[in-house]
Amino acid sequence: MSPAKKRLLRCILALFLIVSLNFIIPRSMPGDPLTNLLGEDAYLTEGSASELRSLMGLDLPLHEQYLAYWRSILSFDLGYSYHLHSSVSSLILSRMKWTLLLAVPSLSAGAIFGTILGGLAGWKRGCGMERVNTAFFLMIYCTPPYFLSLLALYLFSFRLGLFPLKGLYSTGSFLDIAHHLMLPILVMSLFSVSRNFMIMRGSVLVERRSLYAAYARAKGLYGNEILFRHCFKNALLPIITIIALDFGFIFSGALFIEIVFSMNGMGNLIYDSLLSRDYPVLQGSFLIVTIMVILANLLADLQYSRIDPRVRWQ
């Protein structure tokens, strides 16, 4: 069997196992979707409770629920959320668009700026600007996301009034949405940049001591040329996996940012459904995240072999 086929088979097996786990894990937690359905002071008669239980399919034996779960997945039906009164697929689609608007620019900015700035910092280790940059990004990297989001909101929205305090839009126009999303994107980008910066810096620090870098210098190449023509590509390898995973988990949202900025994204959706034991939403969201992570890993593998000939030869 060719390596590509082996890899594909491994992915299919992983998908099967993870999708099964998506069914098992929510059900291993205490409670079920009915536990938290009506509010803390609502009274449910026994008749109404069993009626709802049967409507949700919770009265079926576990193996029948499992088979029904697979049947709906294979027919592309992710089920219905009685907590959010909507089909799971339309719920996920409506939240996904906001999550993508938040995460794609942030992670892209994080990947581009983090690698470039990190690369430069690693290459010019010890210079004043590098020290400032490293200290700044290290500080961001160590700051809890919730705190940083709140701090950014306090400074830029509350004190300076540059951005709105919450939500995804007011009027719904393109500029209005961009105005609402700008600050969360900035905060998320900062996190992404700082993490990628630290990894890339470390990676370039190792590469700059390599013989091929010394050889390039001996050939008479300038500093930045050596970095971007030779070292950058090699230093990029560890960061590819991380960026691929970032994009894999793109649909899991950014919970803290979504909470602070009162945004209806995937992070909030998954968190709420976890608290309310909303099985269909949990299963549907995890399925999407699973597929994305597996695809991203597959792409990272392929990218690796494209960049690194050693992997290709193996």
């Binding site: 409670g31 536990t35 008669t45 305090l165 007011s170």
Partner: protein
Amino acid sequence: MKHRLGRLMAGFILFMLILAIQGQCAGEVSGTVLKIGSPSVVKSASLLGDSSLGVFSHLSNPTLMKMAENGSIVGLTADRAEVSKDGMIWKFFIRDNFYWSDGEKLTPDDVMFTFNYLADKSPSAGWIKKTVENISVDGNAVVFKLNKPYSRLNLEFATYTILPRHIWEKIDKPLEYVNNGEVVGFGPYYISKIDTDAGVIYFKKNPYWKGSSPYFDSIEIHTFSNMDVLSMALEKGEVDAFYKYAGSYPYTSIQKLKDTGNFDFIEKDNIGLTFLAMNLKKEPMSDLEFRKALSYALNYSEILNLDALGYGQVPNAGFVPPSMMDFKETRKLQYNLSKARELLSEAGYKDSNGDGILDGKDGKAIKLTFLTRTDYQRPTELVIGYLKDLGINAEIKSVDSSTWIKQKDAYEYDMTITRSTPWGMLMHANWGTGYFDSTRTGEGVLHNVDDPAFLKLCDGILAATSQSELKEYAYQVQDYYAANLPGIALYWSRIVTPYNKVFTGWYSDPLYGIYNVDSFLEVRKA
């Protein structure tokens, strides 16, 4: 590379500035708007399915009855209610001057439809089917014929919104019905749009409203997932007042608002309260003497000061707060550790091996499981400390809400701290009985009392046919709580609602606070 990065950054900053200017222009709206900020996020535009939207919709679709400031139940959509002497027939006389926002007149038929419809299709209104034999219209009255007397019917009807028949009769599955657009209502305002992504519910003036005209053209409810951000929005003037059903503005943030000088506060005694609940099926909690000793071991003033910053008062053993109707003065709870120790010693709880830990009646050291949720972490730690002072070991088991409900229902705990909501205190046979009656189920319900005397009291209240009878039962229930301590109130809290001084005329009722029709008819710019 450096130049490119610099240019990119400059372009980015310019773009941000354009957005900021544009955003500020977009924020200007025409007409007078009153903006309420709330942490109760509406998760779906389902009128009958989303509990937060259910409360907010009271402005567009008022309830049949309402609670007056003194806790009595008076008419809202109905002018008044009458009950037959045997308590089997209730008549609600519907006002003649209500019109739906689409121009149709509200009729008794709409009211009859609403309760038949809810009984049939809403799980939380399943009790109607069990209690009401028949609903009919008699002139301008809607008549409910019951299969057994139910004294709390008018109170129940202070919580259900009235629905237009001509719209809802076409909706077969109300729980699956989601409508982000206009919701036809007959209140002074109707919902014009529910935007869950923007986190705003928009209300417009009902053009067919015949009552006194409200002062604002529109109302907006802005929901926030984060309380700190909501506080910033209040301070910044982006919202004009705060509202949370069954909840106060965070006590820790009140001073900051006071310091601005821009806010006034409505302070009301809360009907709901925070209390210590015990699993009465297990030793030693099933021992009344143990519970009595425990009631002396808790430092109520300290809990009140640390958990509620003093916004409240030390409670009575009778559990029910003075803000409820027919409150009876019972023994004031007090902290007296030596008395607690004495009571335990008299009851046979001794430290036989001198390790500082008391032994239960089975001779083994007492070790309790204290089930708690993150919202109650602070009072839990305090109570654990008091138990330790008493010589009782307790282990904290911190869980999320769903796990708490499951374990509480399975009686897999010894003690827990929880709260009652205003409606929770009023549900079932009133005066908090709904939390203790073992025949009840529900998310917040403890169902830990199966004492026939208590159950008989509950049945008596439900079947009472006169106010004087109800009052007598209310006193008996409070005496029962004081004598048997199925739950120990930790403090009676106050609900603090801040609003911008620019606006006056707020009115708060004990059930829904400032979120009531009267309030929105009276609020105006000073």
